[in-house]
Amino acid sequence: MSIAVYDREVSFQEIYQSVEKKAYYQKLTTLVSIGAILLYFVFSIIQFDLGSISRKWSPERASRLFLDTYAHKDHVVMNWKDTSKISVNFEGDYRYQYPSFPEWLERIGDGKDIAILTFNSGSKAIFRDDKIIFEQSKSEDRKFIFGIGDNGKPYAEAYDNDGNEKDLPNWIRVTESKVEVRPSLYERIQIYKRKVEVHRYEFGWKYFWFDFFSPLKDYSLPEALSLIFSNERIEPDKTNFELVFSEISDNEQWMHGTVLFSILETLLMAVLGTLLASLLGLPLAFLAAYNITPFKFIRFSLRRLFDMLRGIDMIIWCLIFVRSFGPGLFTGIFAIAFTDTGTLGKLMSEAIENADNKQQEGVKSTGASTILQHRFGIIPQIMPVFISQSLYYLESNTRGAVILGAMGAGGIGLQLLGAIRTGNDFENVGYMAVLIVLLVTVMDQMSAFLRRFLIGIEKN
């Protein structure tokens, strides 16, 4: 069988063959490219020593970090030498010592038991002169005894319901100098030679609004806000309104005032940087477009200037500016403005060159001057591109400003870097991360809204 193609006869077999050949080569290309990518993965896994993740990854640290971001803990410390004194500190900070026992720690003092600590799960730790008795509230109702033996070393014993001694579960680790007990994420008991330390975790951020030393620390936020409208002053020399807000913003642990100000700084950096870039970029773009500027020399030098501004990365600009302006907002603003002047200038000069010249001719035919021709012939055409690009850069610069902050331009990036480097305040890290994500999302939504509002182009 055969068919006529143009002026010659082609047999079906020939067509089949060519189709099959093509399919075969396509299949081969696909397989080879997938194989190449897999090979590259293997190569990279060896090159970057990705296997070391499992070695370096410490699950204990990770779980502690994760727990710290959403929970707070109280430390209960008892010295074996002087068991009458039990100190309860918030987050283990020596300054945040509770003046009296909280409700979950009951002082007994009947000669046998000193105090009973109740965990959130209902498990109990009973403090005695020479040992700690830990009773689990789970179905098995098991009992553990930890203490210091006669040889001065800490020990651990486990008993079942009938009082028979059992093997230690794997969440109890006994070493020469320490017994580490971690029955659940929210409970931790450490027995040292000199003292016993119990950590009791609770869900949530405590003292989020008012810090430990605040006169308002026992108030919840709605209660505190309702105080504003009452006439009785808590501090005689301040109105309640001032007191509530100054206490919130001066919160020692969460530093709301500082954090919000840094967020504002970051935002200011992004907004001012982008604004300066747009204000500089648009006129320069006109000068760099061939249908506006007849001088080749100006166009050429501006093009190269844009290339330079764009090519030198934002980080490098940041490093240069940090030397001249010092750490602060100007560094970030100018780093963003310089980079984006280059990018916007290039984009806009291309947009101007691609603008339809019929409108300009129309304006020209009415006898308008050159400036009016550009104003009414070209600017209306490039305005949508300009606005949407500027808004897009504003959005991406918000993210960039966070990073520039960490590299010396201040703002929330620096605060975050500081909080992570101390390695202690992960609740603050979590808080700031949430704020950063919120900031980025809000800017994202706002720029999308403004774009729709100003240009009137629906998404998709």
Binding site: S44, L268, I315, I316, P327, G328, F330, I403, A433
Partner: protein, 301 residues
Amino acid sequence: MCPKKRGTLLLLKKNYFMSQNAITIESLEENLKVLARQRAIYSVLFIGAIIFIVVSGVGVANQYNAGSFTRGVENFFDYPADLFSDAFEAGWGWFGIVLSFIPALFETFSAAVFSTVVGASIALILCPLATINLSPNQVTVQIVRRTFDILRSFPELVFALILLYLMGKSIVPAIIAVTLHTIGAMGKLFSEAIENIDMKPVDGLKSVGARWYQIICFAVYPQVLPLVLSYSLLRLEINVRASTILGFVGAGGIGAYLTASLQWRYGDEVLAIMFLLVATITALDYFSSYVRHKLIGKISA
């Protein structure tokens, strides 16, 4: 009468004769005036707002900046001059310094390539689930999309700093952080691209009883492949910058050398690293725009 106004009047007259309702020229003129005034007010407000933001922002910045603005402007060229004089002192040896940093640059670059490839592959596998016209059910669409959103809006720096704390200093945390961000960003772009594909090949394959994965492989991916490649190239450029920055905060590569040289104030080394970075990014920029033009030409052809 200026020509513009006469034109408007002619148009108005034409409208007047054509319309059924009796609209006087005076009322139309009045309308026009009101509109023009409104426009003028908006423009003035807009310009005023911009001036206000710039002036007050610069004021705030000047107040909280460590150095002052005027001193900064005066000193602007000091640091680049220092760098260049250091490099000049090094003489021909400077080129040796540049060469000596190439392995570190390669490390950063290959980290960026790896995270781009992995991120793009994962995004490519996930994105059919995030498109309304292809996904098996709507719940998956929402879940995958929100995941992309979260991954995208988390700056790499946050991920990287946390992972650096957990894993110690190496380039692996940077790779993971950049990969996660890439998944989010590319997933969104790819799923938008897939939403706009021609559905005829999909229907054709459905009609011959193809399975879901076969439809994806043979009707969807071939249509978006050029776009995927061009986005990936664009992303590679972004990722090279990102991994440099992450190196700066502790994750190896050329960023780490840059921190060290900056702290030791070795101007020649700083300039060498800056030169390498600028050269790499510019070269990538040209390469990717060249390839993208080719690929996009292929799409439109």
